[in-house]
Structure formats: C-alpha cells, structure tokens
C-alpha cells in the first residue's frame, strides 16, 4: 500500500542530514512551507545549502535558519528584499556563501535535475557578470550560456491539498517553485493545508505523487 502520510512535522523533517542541499518552495510570503521550516529550525541540523527564490524576511521562514546559523550557503535569485536582515547580517559577516542565479535559470536548473537532464543552453545572462566563467556559444545567432542541473537532497514544499499517494494541488500564486522543486530532490517533504481522505481527481493533480516522499497536514495559512 502506498501511504505517504506522516503524523508530525518533526517526524517529516527527520530525514534532513547535516550539510544537506535543501530546496524550499515559495515566493515572497506565498507558498512557503513555514511549518516545515520551523521544524527544521527546531531540529538544529546545520551546514545546510538552501535553494530558494528569496533568503527570508523578518523573523520567520528562512530567516530563522539564518539567525540560528544553520545555513552555510544560499542559492537564490533575490536575496535582498525588505526585511531580509538576517541574510544581510550573515552575508556581510562572511558567514554565509551566496550564489545568485537569474530566477528563470534557477527554475530551469531545478527542472533539469528533476527531468534527468545534465544542463541546457539559455540566452539569459549572456554577456553579464552572472555568465562569467561559464561556457557560452552562439545558437541560432544568439549568445547562450550553459547552465547545469541543480539537484537537492531534500525539498520542503507547501501545498493546498494532498492525498495519501502524495498527489498535490496548490492555491493561487502559492504554486510558484513548489511543483518543480518537488521533482528535483531525492526526498520531498510536503506540508499540506488539507490532507484528503480519498484520492484527488486525476485531472486536477498539479504535482503527481511520484515526486513526493511524505505528506503532513499543516492547516495554518499565512
């Protein structure tokens, strides 16, 4: 029997190991797995590489992990947002490494990992500082940059609904990076606002359960 439901967030987060590469879904304040991040903070696991669009704001989400000193490295497109004080503090003190990736390239590198592709040529960033040191070539008369697949050990995902097979749906713009990150990690951990009793309508599934490791209900909405 396939049953990916796990009772508590703490249990769900247990597979995260010291030094893991952890993708965290969400954009701004929407679709962030706050419950799982809190559980990860409580676990105390450190040396993490965090892959996420932003690097936290205020005193919640990824900011907690940064404040706790659990983060060694951040890979993201937009670390500097209003209130990203913990990121800025750690960065300026040289306590966290930063890799800035154009947002579309970030999404595509994540997808490439999930889809089993080694890398891809994209025009994004050609001729800019973010392409320095990368292989480039002309394709169809345009400069393009070779970008490599970005894999993770763990993905932390926020969904609206989940079923016991791990199928997921999302609410409004809380979808964002969540489905594509679910594909790219060895083990994908989901907090869902509702865990359904029965199966989801097969045509309404946005992220098929094959990409999901575990599902925990976490009803709080930001």
């Amino acid at each position: 029997m396939i049953d990916k439901r796990v009772a508590t967030l703490a249990e769900a987060i247990a597979p995260v190991r010291e030094g893991a590469v952890v993708m965290i879904g969400g954009f701004g304040t929407s679709g962030i797995p706050f419950g799982l991040i809190d559980a990860l903070a409580k676990s105390g696991v450190g040396g993490l590489t965090i892959v996420s669009n932003n690097a936290g704001a205020g005193e919640e989400g990824i900011s907690i992990l940064l404040r706790n000193g659990q983060v060694a490295r951040v890979i993201c497109s937009y670390p500097r947002t209003p209130g990203s004080i913990w990121f800025e503090r750690r960065y300026e003190a040289g306590e966290v490494e930063l890799e800035v990736v154009p947002q579309g390239t970030l999404a595509e590198r994540i997808r490439a990992a999930g889809a089993g592709l080694g890398g891809f040529f994209t025009p994004t960033g050609y001729g800019t500082r973010l392409a320095e040191g990368k292989e480039t070539r002309q394709i169809d008369g345009r400069g393009q940059v070779l970008e490599m697949a970005l894999h993770a050990d763990i993905a932390l995902i926020r969904a609206e609904e989940a079923d016991r097979w791990g199928n997921l749906s999302f609410h409004a713009t809380a979808r964002n990076f969540n489905p594509v990150m679910a594909m790219a990690a060895k083990h994908t951990i989901v907090e869902a606002r509702h865990v359904l009793e029965g199966p989801m309508d097969p045509g309404a599934v946005v992220c098929p359960g094959i990409f999901v490791g575990s599902v925990t209900e976490y009803g709080v909405r930001p």
């Binding site: 701004g28 304040t29 670390p79 994540i110 994209t122 050609y126 500082r129 964002n176 594509v180």
Partner: protein, 218 residues
C-alpha cells in the same frame, strides 16, 4: 540643485506612468517590473484588455483587492496583494519563465539604473560591493520579451547621468532596450543611438541633452 537642472520641467511619476500607458495596446501580454513600472497598469486607457503577467505564476493580474476580500496567497512579484481578471491562469515557475524567455510576452516595462545608447540595460547591481546582489527575473525578461520599455527618472541622485554612451554598472542585458520613458522625454534606441520621440511639455532639446550622457538624435 544645479542651474542647468532648474530649466527642466519634470513629469510627476503618475504622469510618466500615464504617458507610457498610452503605448500599451489592446490585447497585449505585459510584464511590469517592481516599483514605477507597476504604476503603469493603473493608467492604461479604458476599453483596452491587457493581460499582465507576474513572474510568480499568474497571467491576468487584476487590481488591489477590496478590503475584506484579500487572499494572502494571491500576490504579485512586488509581494503586493492582487486579484485576477477574467481569462487569468495560474502556473508554476518554470512555465512562468518559459513565457518570458520563449518570447510569448509582448512588452516588459522595467526600471533602470542606467541605459546605454546601444540598448544595454543595467538594473540589478551597482558597484557597491557591501550589498549582496539580487537579480530576480530581470535577465530572463530582457532576453525573451521583444519589446523592452524602460521607465525611470532621467537623472539619478546628485544629478547622476543615467542615459549614457556605455553603462558603468553591471549589465542586465545587451542591446535589449527598445524605448526609454523619463520624466523629461521619450527616447527610442535606434541604430544610431538615442533618437528623440518627444519632449515632456516645457522642455527644450538643449536642456535635456545637457543632462544626458549620450547624444540625442532627432
């Protein structure tokens, strides 16, 4: 304020956004950057149906929700609460950037630190190494969207020149800007460099040229 500046007549931010909005045609798919670009939506003439895309996964962004109807998980790229208009769709991030990079969006309106006469754009990082860089979706937009409009004040803090022969800040994209809308004038990026489309009311070419770092062709 320097003497040369005193002769200039500057559009307000709202009037500048209103000016640009006239050039958003009916039926267009448009991405608006954070800040001043985002103001444009409010001034598009009535009767035009424009589909605004926000990079975080929505095509068909509507206005700010009425009090009491807010959905905390329905936001735009500026993290502001928004609504949807009829015909809207939600999608995930790799799809959102496929729309941009794949040439499906018609127009993007962006802010800028600097624009060069060859169309180079600098809008993501300065030379101040103290602050961590942050690029977001700007580099994807400029390579994929065929028409890039820049909206910005003509000059920066301390009258710093922002329109110039070559950018000095790190580039966002090479030769990507189609047209620049400033509080002093509208300029096309043409093969020969900046070409005057119009001056904001009350300005002379000489006065505007004096605060521009590259030749304005007419």
């Amino acid at each position: 304020m320097s003497q040369k500046m005193s002769a200039l007549h500057r559009l307000s931010d709202n009037d500048l956004a209103r000016r640009l909005a006239q050039d958003i045609p009916d039926g267009a798919y448009v991405n608006l950057g954070i800040g001043m670009p985002n103001k444009v939506a409010g001034f598009v003439p009535a009767g035009r149906e424009v589909m605004y895309q926000t990079e975080n996964g929505l095509l068909g962004v509507g206005p700010t929700p009425a009090p009491g109807t807010e959905d905390p998980e329905l936001i735009d790229a500026s993290k502001q609460l928004v609504t949807t208009i009829p015909g809207a769709s939600f999608f995930e991030h790799s799809m959102s950037f496929a729309m941009m990079r794949g040439g499906h969006i018609d127009i993007a309106v962006l802010g800028a630190y600097q624009v060069a006469e060859n169309g180079d754009l600098a809008n993501w990082a300065t030379l101040d190494e103290k602050h961590p860089p942050a690029v977001g979706g700007a580099m994807d937009l400029v390579v994929g969207v065929p028409t890039i409009y820049v909206i910005m004040r003509h000059t920066g803090r301390d009258d710093a020149v922002k329109l110039m022969e070559r950018c000095t800040y790190p580039l966002t994209g090479l030769g990507v800007v189609s047209r620049v809308y400033t509080d002093l004038c509208v300029l096309d990026v043409a093969p020969e460099g900046f070409r005057l489309v119009e001056l904001a009311p009350g300005n002379t070419l000489e006065a505007v040229q004096a605060v521009t770092g590259a030749k304005i062709h007419i």
